[in-house]
Symmetry: C2
Subunit: 354 residues, 2 copies
């Protein structure tokens, strides 16, 4: 492995000069710089990131802005763990991470988390752009400060984010459509559950629904979809009443598609007659949802691989910071189809080891 010392010897300059050339620190005569550059290229020199990390202690600081998780909404726990796991891998390379969480139902909380995050003078930001308008403010600010940022999980366009890490929601919905039809008669009706708050700002949900419907259309299936909007999904009795009565009035429905992470709330309130008869397909492998798979109330879950989202986001940014590796492309994670039998192998056991 070729070192700075080797390059310096070859170019008849000191190691310091080579260092300046490598990092464009300036203060090197044009002619000398050119010579060094040429030799660097000739030997395809790459700095040893291990030695570099050791020399520049704690150089980089990544902050992550993401929704908080709790008992009712476990989804965000996995990206959280994924980020922590990745930090284990990169911390000795001088990269440290701090996660700031916000309440995904309050835009103010989002802005406040950002403000706090900014105080730690981050070198880069991982963010879940949950609110459009506020995200515009934040990214404008970051661009002024020349702090690179990456979108996690929510893919919105018109921004100068380094990359996006998450899932292709449209295709995921399309696949849900296909799975729904596996077990269904040729002409059946399906119920799509919507949740007011989601419709407003989460384009992932609408893309999934679009994909789901497109599957029917493209395959010329003689099926019909119903959409049922629920005001307050956390009101148990109201939810139960609304759904079961809707199913009673529409007996042809053979399946329910829940394009967001809370299918367990639907499964839990279905009357037995419907539970046995209906095909349920939802998103995300939270513990509650997994339980529904295991007790046969839900047939399929589509995983967004949330752990991997967090993990890869950190790895991508680390490569960007350390190796200047740019990846403008979207980083789409696999669309995992989970059933009762394979779900246990999808759970990451190995986070926070060290």
């Amino acid at each position: 492995m070729i070192t700075i010392k080797d390059i310096a010897k070859e170019a008849n300059v000191s190691e310091g000069t080579v260092d300046r050339v490598i990092h464009n620190r300036g203060g090197v005569a044009k002619k000398t710089a050119a010579k060094v550059q040429q030799i660097l290229k000739h030997y395809n020199f790459k700095v040893n990131p291990v030695a570099s990390a050791l020399a520049t202690k704690n150089k980089y600081f990544i902050v992550a802005l993401m929704p908080e998780h709790n008992e009712q909404d476990l989804f965000w726990k996995s990206p959280f763990s994924g980020i922590l796991k990745a930090e284990e891998d990169v911390k000795n390379l001088g990269i440290h991470i701090k996660i700031f969480t916000f309440n995904q139902h309050e835009s103010n909380s989002y802005l406040n988390a950002y403000k706090k995050a900014l105080e730690s003078q981050p070198s880069a930001v991982i963010m879940v752009p949950n609110f459009f308008k506020e995200t515009t403010e934040i990214t404008n600010d970051l661009e002024k400060l020349k702090i690179p940022y990456l979108f996690l999980n929510i893919d919105i366009s018109g921004f100068k984010n380094i990359s996006f890490v998450g899932q292709d929601s449209y295709t995921a919905g399309y696949i849900a459509g296909k799975l729904m039809h596996f077990n269904s008669p040729k002409s059946s009706e399906f119920l799509i559950i919507q949740f007011k708050e989601n419709i407003i700002r989460n384009n992932a949900v609408s893309n999934r629904v679009k994909g789901f419907n497109d599957y029917l259309i493209k395959n010329k299936l003689d099926s019909k979809t119903h959409i049922l909007e629920i005001e307050n999904i956390n009101n148990d009795s109201a939810r139960k009443e609304i759904i079961n009565s809707y199913l009673k009035n529409n007996p042809k429905i053979t399946g329910i598609f829940v394009p967001f992470s809370k299918i367990y709330l639907i499964a839990d309130c279905l009357e037995n007659q419907y539970l046995d008869k209906l095909e349920l397909i939802g998103f995300d492998n939270t513990q509650q949802n997994i339980d529904c798979l295991l007790n046969d109330s839900v047939s399929f879950l589509i995983s967004q691989k949330p752990f991997e989202q967090g993990y890869e986001a950190v790895r991508l940014l680390s490569d960007y910071l350390i190796k200047n590796k740019i990846s403008t492309d979207k980083f789409y994670l696999p669309i995992d189809i989970l059933i009762k039998e394979n779900v246990k192998y999808n759970i990451r056991k190995d986070f926070i080891t060290s």
Copy 2:
């Protein structure tokens, strides 16, 4: 972050002594060692792997013994790539890897590859134990030399391997059974293709078949399975003749299960009438198999995540060598269900980046 220097100061000894205690190099008075140990534990000291790697240049050498890949048998290309990718991640930690390939149809080739591998005095071995008897010889040898070894992809018991990285074949077959029944009428017949050579030594194949059949039994499905053994699967015309005539004589068959990686050979030789009618389910996302998914001749592929197998094997061994982290448990990778729509997101684009 606490350092050796800190520990030394606290214990009133020199850094060298602490180093000796940490690495059990001996030559430390019992009393002193105990004191240092206690302080190490108290601060939960962990060596900085980055500094350690820098100080001990190229300390570890891992060799991998795996089948070679070629145009006809692409399966082993992915673990190969996965290992190379992982090497990128760990090479600056002083871990280097060399892959030795062998002809999976000749046990001598396996032994020869091992002999060559041994010459490089490896610190650990990743091996695909393709031949039972020869594996016994090899592992006996390795145990004498106190070289740890890990099994990749093929899970055989009765050995002292550090770990196994691969798939739960039985469950994968069970899932194949479930998928096969999604689209089939209640009482249908299925054809399982076997391949002489595989039967002999690859217990993964027989476990998959067992899982497949168990799905029928456990769910009390009124189905029947046929088993068709093919002598020389690479003889195009013979294969075509055998399969199509078998299907002609058994018109009730609605699906074909191919429990090894060459379903494309089956799909390619089916007459159109069968191609349209039959459900095909196979293993492994090789390019040829993926093409079959995309042209609708195959409905499902179950991926063994071969890239990840290679990657994780290296990571596991690295952790073992560097951090002394032991993992006797089997490392089962997810059982990915691949369909036309999600297959493209399962292809790793990012190997050998550097």
